[in-house]
Symmetry: C2
Subunit: 207 residues, 2 copies
């Protein structure tokens, strides 16, 4: 199909499609004439994925490109595939002070030991986790910090559902998509479900 039809099928305006092509988020179509290219169903699917990552998972262009690169060039083992899932989480700028990092690692070590989590070698995610814990402390939300154990327990339950999904994927490519794009999209899914559940969880005698 031509670009106009790709636009109609996906609802993405032509100038936006051209922007994604320039940014390397969408592979070029098959060139048929100097100023004309053909697109197929793989472009439709990719374009929907790009929109989902940008609009719903809230990724930047740079992060979305990292995820798409991982999908296009998957690791060779399932464990490496899991590693690429790390790219779909917000990156901290790494500006946490040494003493704050030590405090956060202390709080995490307890929780991690209890569940057999390995915190070493978790660079990107661990940095973001540490920055988040320090921020929660610094804005004075100690009530939340005291529940770190409870949130970790829920995280284990989410991960169990996630991993059972990965196990259902039949190809390595599908595993990578689930671990990266799927994890990012279900972050948003969970954030929304959680807010609906919050109101329901209020005791009836609340004012």
């Amino acid at each position: 199909m031509r670009m106009a039809e790709l636009s109609r099928t996906t609802g993405v305006p032509v100038p936006t499609i051209k922007y994604y092509l320039r940014e390397g988020l969408l592979p070029a179509g098959e060139r048929t004439r100097p100023n004309q290219a053909n697109y197929d169903d793989s472009h439709v699917r990719r374009l929907r994925l790009v929109r989902a990552l940008l609009d719903l998972a809230g990724m930047t262009i740079i992060r979305a490109r990292e995820v798409l690169d991982a999908i296009d060039d998957p690791g060779t083992t399932s464990r490496q595939v899991l590693g690429t899932a790390q790219r779909s989480v917000a990156q901290s700028d790494g500006s946490v002070r040494v003493e704050d990092r030590e405090w956060a690692m202390g709080a995490l070590a307890e929780v991690a030991d209890a569940r057999g989590w390995h915190l070493h070698d978790r660079g990107h995610v661990l940095d973001s986790l540490i920055a988040t814990l320090v921020a929660i402390r610094d804005v004075g939300q100690h009530i939340l910090l005291a529940r770190l154990e409870d949130y970790a327990t829920v995280a284990d339950q989410i991960a169990e559902v996630d991993v059972s999904c990965f196990a259902e994927a039949t190809t390595l490519e599908e595993q990578v998509e689930l671990a990266t794009a799927g994890t990012a999209l279900t972050d948003t899914l969970l954030a929304n479900l959680r807010r609906i559940a919050q109101k329901n969880a209020l005791p009836p005698d609340w004012p």
Copy 2:
């Protein structure tokens, strides 16, 4: 304290503080001379909250301002307070087609009925939830859709922890901060914990 000290205490550069003042994210200091103002501990705390919302919760300036406005002007009942928590979630552009919306509502109704969730009157969050479900379907991740029930179960568990935190808050202002900023920051916390838990949840015989 003067702006230079506010900058040193929080690690936020002076030009950034000026930007936040212009954008209405930080209240003006007490003016002492035409070109000089005094800031206090409330500014330190607010500045840390602004950074947490922008950098870690990944909010836009507009969304962060909505959350801060809610904190500064809380509702009069705890239920209204919960309503403001909705502002901390990503907004969809609402461009979901009627038939897609109906499909998503059908999938949600089953899950909601089973747990007594009320889906009516959940405008903002429901729109975002519907858009996310449609996106997950359109990128072909049917494995995830089949687990909507499981993710809803986990959302209920997160909400239980959340609401028990709200109950510990002693002032209405603290409740609003927990429901808005706290929920947004624990979205990020959970996203990170989940990724650490994922690797741990892999069966040992995985390749």
